[in-house]
């Protein structure tokens, strides 16, 4: 187990090096000049050159890269060209928003999806099975933005029970920043009104995002469970007289979860990069919005900072998923196949 952790951490360093070089080069190879964007449509050449110099962009590429990596090793992600604030400050503001949204979405997807999938697999061709398959198919076919808009139209437009957009009502202050997650910081600091408001704002975007993930989980786990429940060792366990519950959960689910968790892990990592569509529909101030803004204004430090954070998150998530899989399935631990 420890060996796996060390391997992954080493891989993290390698991944970061490659990702940073690739992003650095790509951002500069694309024709387009952030100095122009800052200077504006009516600026003179002199102004643009002055800005380029201020940003240090007139230095050789290698120097710029070395300078950036040096800063990175000291925990400095540079200063955003558009907001003039340290990129780490901006990320600290936007990342928790996405993390909160994606985390709860996956929680809902797993808490609802796993039992539904088990029921569908165990009670094949019953009403539960059909319901699960329909729910899954609908979720995979529905575009998130459409579903999100329908939720807003019905639950805000028609019934007015939930807010249309954003993370918090404008007249309530966000709780003091501890983790950046309003649902954690609120109770910890006693900002209960903001906490309740934040929960109300979370419901619709979480639903929109969760539904698609739920569909994926249900479909994958149901298929996985059906194939696992048909194996010899499960038949043996039943024959040995173990209770149905033990058979399904200890023998069935444990093994069936492995491929599902891998997919969920990849999905989670991808969405942390900004559930762009969901965030746009619900005006959620997260990584999706941030990265789109940064790309549009060619904000190099922001783009780099974002990429590096996501790369790190991705590697770490994959590490966690692999560790869980090892814990669930000793065969992986031993490195052999059945």
């Amino acid at each position: 187990m420890l060996k796996v952790v060390w391997q992954r951490l080493l891989m993290l360093v390698l991944v970061l090096a490659c990702v940073s070089i690739a992003t650095f080069l790509m951002a500069r190879v694309v024709p387009g000049d952030p100095a122009q964007v800052i200077a504006g449509p009516h600026a003179s050449h002199a102004t643009v050159e002055a800005i380029r110099h201020q940003l240090g962009m007139d230095r050789p590429l290698l120097v710029q890269y070395a300078d950036y990596m040096n800063g990175l090793l000291h925990g400095d992600l540079g200063t955003s060209i558009t907001t003039r604030h340290p990129v780490s400050d901006d990320l600290l503001a936007y990342f928790p928003a996405t993390l909160e949204l994606v985390f709860y979405a996956f929680l809902v997807a797993l808490v609802v999806g796993i039992p539904l999938a088990i029921l569908a697999a165990v009670k094949r061709n019953s009403v539960w099975d059909y319901a699960a398959r329909v729910v899954s198919l609908a979720g995979l076919s529905m575009p998130t933005f459409w579903f999100g808009l329908v939720l807003i139209l019905v639950l805000y437009g028609k019934f007015g029970v939930l807010p249309a957009s954003g993370r918090l009502s404008a007249d309530l202050p966000p709780p003091p920043h501890l983790t950046g997650l309003y649902t954690v910081d609120g109770p910890l600091t006693g900002y209960w009104a903001s906490f309740v408001d934040a929960v109300q704002h979370l419901i619709l975007p979480v639903l929109a995002l969760a539904y698609v993930q739920l569909a994926i989980v249900v479909r994958q786990l149901r298929a996985s469970m059906i194939s696992v429940l048909a194996t010899d060792y499960v038949r043996t366990a039943r024959a040995a007289g173990l209770s149905e519950w033990t058979v399904i959960i200890r023998f069935g689910l444990r093994n069936a979860l492995v491929p599902v968790l891998t997919i969920v892990g990849i999905s989670f990592g991808a969405l942390l990069g900004g559930a762009v569509v969901t965030e746009t529909v619900f005006g959620w101030p997260g990584m999706g919005n941030y990265v789109v803004q940064s790309i549009e204004s060619l904000d190099f430090p922001a783009i780099m900072g974002f990429t590096i954070v996501i790369a790190v998150a991705y590697v770490l998530i994959n590490l966690v998923v692999d560790l869980i899989n090892i814990a669930l399935n000793p065969e992986i631990r031993r490195g052999g196949a059945s």
Binding site: G32, A93, I152, G166, R167, D171, V199
Partner: protein
């Protein structure tokens, strides 16, 4: 589905109920009755609030009410009236401008607004030297001989100078901003998300990506406004904005797309404001660096006759625009209503092309991006129009940043463009677009060079005689319409949906996106 809906509905109900009883620690909110609060939906967040750095109208929405300037626009017109300066005069033929300040105005921290603060603001603007400094490149020095007098010495006479002082760039900033300096940035990091002005409002709170809240400034020297709180919330989805406006949860919605405004017009409780703006949409014909056929005047005239202006306006602006008549738009002084205007005449266009004797025209590239939502439609329409008279057009859609790079290098034949004036002077159109020294992104995107036009517009730039300037610009306009380096398409209408109980909003075409909060109110 029921398995999900029931617990969710339960959570929603509990959350709503809990919302009534939950509260935050004391003193952590801003309360004000809703009849004195204006809530506006905006489509995206701002970049920085520093007047010396930001060139984005979205930021000016916040900063314009928080800072004062030497001069202001009069109501809905582009004429100037006294602001912090009660009077001004020029000497040495327009090279030196002297302003006499009112006294008694204070910044939010009590610092007096005096000549030193004005000198500081402009010195800072020029030292930071970003986008806004471009409008003040003519300034040589700023002097403050006494607390109520400011003297601007320019490098050379520049007649439009006073109008540059009404812009957001010319905001008078509290010199105490230097105490917030980090790494020699002159307070840029601080002013990016704070305001330090003497205007009727100040920034109370900013939640990144979500909202900005202005409250009325207690140290403001004028009378207390009806609107004591203005909340700008960032709602990126146009449909969500529309629902919020219809339900009355917001008073103004800026991000609703033009096709949705029509149905809103007929809804009770909502008014859609419609006024001509100074934003023009036009096509650059790369005379200087594009395909050689564009050097031929008849070819460019033919292109101008080939465009179906009315059809284009309907397709891209839903009819909410006016065809341009010359480069100076309606609403700006210098506009000439008697100027010749090209009309849709494909037969005449073909005849002109034949007369031009350029033979078979190779495909011309039409460069554009997604910078304006209607550009893809416009590009297709223009391609179709030109195809009809025998000019093949190759569409080249790129990223906005890429487009600007190509424009600057002159690597295109035709390109779509929009332009709006930074200050209220025809110089913004005539000199920027036609002076041969301004080739490229700076303004002359057609890389046009006509010594006769250069002479006229350069003379108009320095003369301090208004009627003489008008005459010079009229003469220049006649030339550049007959020998068009641009296809003058249209100037857009400004449209804004708002609740009918919002009163007092005055649209000034120079202040698009900015609200005259001190004069606004909401009916009880």
């Amino acid at each position: 589905m029921r398995r999900i809906l029931v617990p969710v509905a339960a959570v929603a109900v509990i959350a709503s109920a809990a919302g009534c009883t939950a509260s935050n620690p004391k003193g952590s909110g801003t309360q004000s009755s809703t009849s004195h609060t204006l809530t506006v939906d905006v489509a995206s967040d701002i970049d920085t609030l520093d007047p010396a750095v930001t060139i984005d109208n979205a930021s000016w929405k916040i900063t314009y009410p928080c800072y004062e300037r030497l001069v202001d626009y009069k109501g809905a017109s582009t004429q100037l009236q006294p602001g912090l300066a009660k009077s001004w005069s020029s000497s040495q033929g327009g090279k030196v401008w002297t302003f006499h300040l009112v006294s008694g105005h204070k910044f939010t921290d009590g610092t007096p607004v005096d000549a030193n603060a004005v000198k500081f603001s402009f010195d800072r603007l020029l030292k930071i030297n970003q986008g806004p400094a471009g409008s003040f490149a003519e300034i040589s020095t700023v002097q403050a001989p006494n607390p109520t007098t400011v003297k601007f010495v320019l490098k050379s006479p520049f007649a439009p100078f006073p109008s540059t002082l009404a812009t957001n760039y010319a905001s008078i900033v509290d010199p105490k901003v230097m105490s917030h300096q980090q790494n020699g940035d002159m307070g840029q990091a601080y002013l990016a998300s704070h305001t330090m002005g003497s205007g009727p409002y100040e920034l109370k709170s900013r939640v990144k990506g979500q909202s900005l809240t202005l409250v009325s400034n207690p140290t403001y020297s004028g009378s207390k406004p009806q609107i004591t709180k203005a909340v700008f919330q960032i709602v990126s989805d146009p449909s969500a904005q529309r629902l919020q406006l219809e339900k009355g949860d917001v008073d103004v919605a800026e991000g609703i797309t033009i096709d949705q405004l029509k149905p809103l017009e007929s809804e009770s409780g909502i008014t859609v404001l419609k006024k001509p703006s100074l934003l023009v949409d036009y096509v650059y014909l790369n005379v200087g660096k594009g395909n050689p056929v564009l050097k031929n005047t008849k070819v460019r005239q033919a292109i101008s006759y080939a465009i179906d202006y009315k059809g284009l306006i309907n397709a891209t602006q839903q009819g909410q625009a006016t065809q341009m008549r010359g480069p100076i738009p309606q609403g700006m002084w210098g506009h000439d209503n008697s100027l010749m205007q090209y009309n849709y005449d494909p037969a005449k266009a073909k005849a002109l092309l034949a007369q031009a004797h350029v033979g078979k025209i190779p495909p011309l590239t039409l460069l554009y991006s997604d910078h304006e939502a209607w550009w893809p439609t416009e590009a297709l329409a223009i391609q179709a129009n030109l195809q009809k008279i025998g000019i093949p057009v190759k569409l080249s859609k790129v990223e906005y940043a890429t487009e600007r790079a190509l424009l600057d290098k002159g690597q295109f034949d035709l390109s779509l463009g929009v332009w709006s004036p930074d200050y209220a002077d025809p110089y913004m159109f005539m000199n920027f677009w036609f002076d041969s020294n301004n080739g490229g992104l700076a303004g002359n995107r057609a890389f046009y060079s006509n010594p006769q036009v250069d002479k006229l517009i350069r003379e108009a730039a320095v003369s301090t005689n208004q009627s003489q300037r008008q005459q010079l610009y009229q003469q220049a306009q006649k030339i550049v319409v007959q020998d068009p380096p641009y296809v003058y398409l249209y100037q857009t209408n400004f449209m804004l949906p708002m609740r009918s109980d919002v009163h007092g909003f005055v649209f000034n075409p120079m202040l698009q996106g900015i609200y005259n909060l001190t004069q606004m109110s909401k009916a009880a």
